[in-house]
Symmetry: C2
């Protein structure tokens, strides 16, 4: 990882907006070119995404609704970390959203969701040796409509057609491809 | 694309925070399960990312600093759309950040940056038949330290090592892989 210094100077900071899921911080700064300015940062909890792979190398996808974008989409299970360690959060999210438990967990990577605005880091896990409860324990208050296993090739097609269109899920699919190619 | 109805009802809405780059909207809602609640949405302009490919199928990457995450990273050129149409914005961002002009442009895809919080959509373009100005025209006030062409294999390695770690760039790299595999 890079250890070069932060080229920005923070002169002062204050929280200017807050709700239960995020807060907005306004920093008075000196920019890398020496000019003064303000930077608004949205602070949110870190999150997790889960690549749940069955014995046929199919991946479990769920269909849910993005309120900010007002669209239905197919994507990876996952969600907010809620102050748990990432693997605990991933186990909880997978069980809640899909009813799946997994015996084998490994971390595929940690990604930043937004370069310019959010603090959110999403840890993506690979879950294998899957077993199923009778039904999802919770589904985020009706937000998840359905779920099913899909081959990577089918998911690639859904990305091409725009039915999988969030950068978080596409990043997980990329990491799944890489893991399978290396195995 | 999916045409199922929005399972949320919006009862009222107001802007509760605003700066030059974003605004926060609080919606009073009825959730899909019928319970009342509030949803905070961060409204930002759409953005663009550019996969600039040279005649050796190498991709131009830049090294810049994420203020919200306080890290240096390698990633794709790109940035805010600033109310331009996406291709115009992509041509401007590529030229400003790298000094590169391209004769051949095509859209690789449009992705949502965040499922739960942001309205941002990022359009990712493939730029080819590249030519170089003497130097980048601007570099976002000193935010970009260096840039160079890298092979896809080298970028895959940087993703594995965490030096390319933003979901926006990884999504662009995924789309570049797919385009090259189909060509």
């Amino acid at each position: 990882m890079n250890t070069d210094p932060n080229p920005w100077q923070r002169v002062s900071t204050k929280i200017v907006y807050k709700n239960p899921w995020m807060q907005v911080r306004e920093d008075q700064v000196v920019r890398p070119d020496g000019s003064p300015g303000m930077y608004g940062v949205v602070e949110v909890k870190d999150s997790v995404g889960i690549v749940a792979l069955n014995d046929q190398d199919e991946l479990y996808m769920i269909r849910s609704f993005s309120y900010p974008s007002a669209v239905w989409f197919w994507g990876l299970p996952g969600g907010g970390g809620e102050d748990q360690d990432a693997e605990t959060a991933a186990r909880r999210e997978l069980l809640e959203e899909t009813g799946i438990s997994a015996a084998d967990w490994r971390k595929l990577g940690t990604t930043r969701v937004s370069n310019g605005l959010l603090t959110e880091r999403m840890t993506i896990f690979l879950a294998r040796q899957l077993s199923f409860g009778e039904r999802p324990l919770a589904d985020d208050a009706g937000l998840i409509e359905q779920g099913r296993f899909m081959s990577l090739e089918a998911i690639d097609q859904l990305i091409e057609s725009g039915e999988v269109d969030d950068a978080q899920s596409i990043t997980g699919v990329y990491l799944a491809h890489r893991w399978l190619a290396r195995r």
